[in-house]
């Protein structure tokens, strides 16, 4: 770049004539302009930093879950080795609570006490016993997830000094919490349930497993449809297609499809796949098929670029030793272009993973409490799970939503890292 005249001595020594004043004004304008440019960059980067910081700081606590250790007495006569699922687990749970905090008899107080542990506690005890019937006849210390409000209390989200009617935990609960804490019964280990539980109405039990499996199935369907079709279309358009109106039309069309709003693809999926073909709603199969249509233009464009980057000498050499046109392309050009195509496909899949709107329209925002068993079973996906949690009123879901976003961003970073690695490692520079 050519440097403009910039001589401070010139400015200082010269008399302040009209010309000098003009030049000074012009330099001031120059500095202002440069400053605005820098400010714009800093604003964009700043928003990104603020965004990531808010998400991480609000999601971080959800990676830990408060647990309350209770001594569960499994010597209850209703428990039988033969049929461990059939017993009064509600009573067993109540007894365990009473044993851990003796001296509470009032029914109302008991209800308050019960509300400190997750409402699903009796079922959790039952599941443990069914898994391992040898526990029957012993007293077992079980760490049960605390309810959302106690979890918030443990994480310091609740101000103890606020008047009791304006906070979600009662004075009794705070006192009992402190007693349990002094007994060493409160712990907050890593919340593996966030990854390995399916969705639940209770924030303390809700996890992402169903959404992760659903997203995985949908992405697999998307990949197996869009990758072969995309590569085939790119090969045809780049290597074989005659230059005529018809192929021009296909090209314009692909460029346009890449810019069609995602929600329109959702409308297409709803009207064609679900309404016309009668495929099941909420299924990863339909989600994947819809996402495949969206990923297709990205994959075709990336694959064509990869094919274009293979030098013509490779084709010519193959043709020169007597290969047919198809042999030259499929045996020699395609393998060289493959890393670039794979990179494009991974980037297309990463975009598809974060896509929400089309999945909402085909019903992948259902409330489903188990991981899908196959690609036609109803399921959620990671972004739609975030949407469901963001809409839930319980306080615990705010930080879980952020935690789910962190998980989603983590997957995206991994996929892009793989794409960059592939490009760096495998792509041949000519």
């Amino acid at each position: 770049m050519t440097d403009t005249i910039k001589d401070p001595g010139f400015e200082a020594s010269a008399a302040l004539g009209d010309a000098q004043r003009r030049i000074r004004r012009r330099y001031a304008a120059e500095r202002r302009f440069k400053f605005f440019g820098l400010a714009a960059i800093l604003a964009a980067v700043g928003v990104l930093v603020v965004l990531l910081f808010t998400i991480v700081s609000s999601g971080y606590p959800a990676f830990f879950q408060t647990r309350i250790a209770l001594d569960v007495d499994l010597r209850d006569p209703t428990l039988e080795q033969a049929d461990p699922a059939k017993a009064n687990y509600r009573k067993i749970f109540d007894d365990a609570l009473a044993a851990s905090l003796p001296g509470i008899t009032d029914t109302k107080e008991l209800r308050e006490l019960r509300a400190m542990v997750t409402a699903a506690a009796p079922y959790l005890i039952r599941d443990r016993v069914v898994d391992d019937p040898s526990l029957i006849g012993r007293e077992v210390r079980m760490e049960l997830p605390a309810s959302d409000r106690i979890d918030q209390l443990q994480k310091g989200e609740i101000d103890r000094n606020v008047a009791p009617d304006r906070r979600i935990v009662t004075d009794n609960q705070i006192a009992w919490y402190d007693r349990l804490d002094a007994d060493g019964r409160i712990s907050a280990p890593f919340n593996s349930g966030l990854f390995f539980n399916a969705d639940s109405r209770f924030p303390e039990l809700a996890g992402l497993w169903g959404a992760i499996v659903g997203s995985f199935y949908a992405l697999m369907v998307c990949f197996f449809l869009s990758f072969p079709i995309g590569i085939a279309a790119a090969i045809y358009l780049e290597e074989f297609a005659p230059k005529n109106r018809w192929t021009d039309l296909i090209e314009v069309n692909i460029n346009n499809l890449a810019a069609v709003p995602s929600i329109v693809f959702g409308l297409l999926g709803l009207a064609v796949y679900i309404q016309t073909f009668g495929l099941p709603r909420s299924a990863p199969l339909v989600g994947g098929m819809t996402l495949a249509l969206m990923a297709l233009p990205t994959i075709i464009i990336a694959s064509r670029a990869a094919l274009k980057s293979v030098p013509p000498s490779v084709r010519e050499a193959a043709l020169g030793v007597g290969a047919s046109h198809q042999q030259a392309v499929l045996h020699h050009v395609l393998p060289l272009a493959m890393p670039g195509m794979l990179t494009g496909a991974i980037i297309g899949l990463a975009q598809a993973l974060g896509e929400t709107a089309p999945l909402l329209l085909i019903g992948m925002n259902a409330f489903i409490t188990s991981a899908p068993e196959g690609i036609t079973a109803p399921s959620t996906a990671l972004p739609t799970q975030i949407y469901i949690w963001a809409d839930s009123p319980e306080r615990g879901f705010v930080s879980r939503t952020s935690a789910a976003i962190i998980v989603l961003l983590g997957f995206l970073v991994c996929m892009n890292a793989v794409a960059i690695y592939l490009r760096k490692r495998l792509e041949v520079r000519w």
């Binding site: 965004l51 085939a232 989603l408």
Partner: protein, 461 residues
């Protein structure tokens, strides 16, 4: 066995065909007389594999599409006539899904014995159909394979046949993109036509009142429903305009700074960071808007004595603008760096400062590319869904006040189609009419943008 396993089976059949064909042609290698085909052996394998794989694949796809229809028809015709007489299409669909749920063990309420029997029959039929599908596909595959196998001989012009088939497959795949567009246009048009049979297009395009919540059953109390979409369009324009007011200055200035001022180290570090903004899923922005930006604006409004709604157009628009910054900046950056160096040198030689060069020389030269980028970004903003679904309002509100809540086309589509979707109520169909408008507007913007950028490219290349 899940139906999806049919595809690995087809692939296995094709691999089997490939090895069989290749072996046979290798065995025949000695029989070759002078002057006969020299096709590589692999082509014989491909020949048999294609012969066996394609019919099997077509049959399994067709079977998977038509099986539910046929099974449902059989089950329904098996029900007593009195049961299905006088039912509308929706009620029959409901009955079908009840039967389907029952046979997979999901019981709602007390099903009648007829339905129970039908469910049992349904389960049986599905099982028979599944078994029949696997048998038929394998039989067709093996049959075709043995036919092709018997035709393998050295004189067969196998390369031409295989390459011809591959070419057809390649052409079909590139037509998928066209089919997608046709599918979008057809599905939007058909549903919109159904909508316009019930609501006049003039009312839809020029009506000022948008209240799509109609009664689904006759006994429900609800508004009659009015479908004047002007407030929805106005809301979309308001939010997009706010977004562009944020995105264009920031995006353009950062592109100028990166292209003209920044040292190359800063450029190579800052450019990917700015582009990361485009890689963040929109639902994340939506949650960010709800969690941080909307409360922030609300509090700022309180201190300034303004009444800012919780779902103000401002919050949604600003966050959407942030999302769009990278589109504006990277497309502008391309346009600016494509301006030939001679123009810069010429301006500098005449004594202009850098900013003067940029404003008076580079910017006009890059203008077509920048305008193209801005148009593409506008089309993104109009079609953006998740940010507005989470951060903007649900009720239509004809206002230009950015502190109030407004709704957008995409928000209405999502809220109308989430939950029950009866495809004959104007409420559901209006979503498709909105979708059609959205598709046409973004299509026009995209075409114009692509045209402008292409024309510009021709000028300097």
């Amino acid at each position: 066995m899940p139906a999806i396993y049919i595809f690995p089976i087809v692939i296995l059949l094709a691999i089997l065909g490939y090895t069989a064909g290749k072996r046979r042609s290798l065995a025949q290698y000695g029989d070759r007389t002078a002057g006969e085909s020299y096709a590589p052996r692999g082509y014989f394998g491909m020949y048999v594999a294609l012969w066996c794989g394609i019919p099997a694949l077509i049959l399994s796809v067709a079977w998977l599409i038509f099986e539910p229809v046929i099974v449902n028809g059989l089950v329904l015709s098996g029900l007593p006539d009195a049961f299905t007489e006088g039912l509308s299409g929706d009620q029959i669909a409901l009955l079908e899904s009840e039967i389907e749920n029952l046979s997979s063990g999901v019981v709602f309420g007390q099903p009648t014995p007829e339905v129970m029997a039908a469910a049992e029959r349904y389960g049986e039929l599905r099982q028979i159909a599944r078994a029949a599908m696997f048998t038929a596909v394998i039989a067709i595959g093996l049959g075709a394979m043995s036919f092709a196998y018997s035709r393998v001989r050295p004189s067969l012009r196998v390369r031409e046949r295989v390459e011809g088939t591959i070419m057809v497959i390649l052409v079909l795949c590139s037509i998928v993109a066209i089919l997608t567009t046709i599918g979008i246009v057809l599905s939007l048009f058909i549903e919109s036509l159904l909508f316009f049979e019930q609501v006049s297009p003039l009312d839809f395009l020029f009506g000022l009142n948008w209240e799509p919540q109609t009664a689904i059953r006759a006994d429900q109390v609800a508004a009659a429903g009015s479908f004047g979409a002007v407030p929805v369009f106005a809301g979309t324009l308001l939010i997009s305009a706010i977004a562009m007011l944020v995105a264009v200055p920031i995006g353009l200035m950062s592109a100028i700074y990166l292209a003209e001022y920044a040292p190359s180290a800063v450029r190579s570090a800052a450019k990917p960071v700015v582009e990361m903004l485009a890689g963040i899923p929109t639902i994340v922005y939506g949650f960010f808007a709800v969690l941080t930006i909307a409360p922030l604006f609300r509090e700022m409004g309180v201190t300034l004595g303004l009444n800012v709604a919780a779902n103000s157009a401002l919050a949604a628009g600003v966050v959407m603008g942030v999302m769009i910054i990278p589109f504006v900046s990277s497309l502008s950056d391309d346009a600016i760096t494509a301006v030939p160096r001679s123009l810069r040198d010429g301006a500098a030689a005449l004594g202009s400062t850098r900013s003067e060069t940029i404003v008076q020389v580079i910017f006009p030269a890059a203008l077509p590319g920048i305008v193209g980028g801005i148009l593409l970004a506008t089309s993104r903003a109009i079609g953006e869904t998740m940010i507005v679904v989470m951060a903007a309002g649900l009720t239509a509100n004809l206002t230009a006040n950015p502190f109030e809540g407004v709704t957008t086309v995409t928000v209405q589509i999502v809220t109308l189609l989430i939950g029950d979707t009866a495809f004959d109520s104007p409420k559901t169909l209006s979503a498709f009419a909105l979708g059609l408008v959205l598709f046409l507007i973004t299509l026009c913007l995209n075409i114009v943008a692509l045209r402008i950028t292409q024309k510009y490219r021709e000028k300097y290349d």
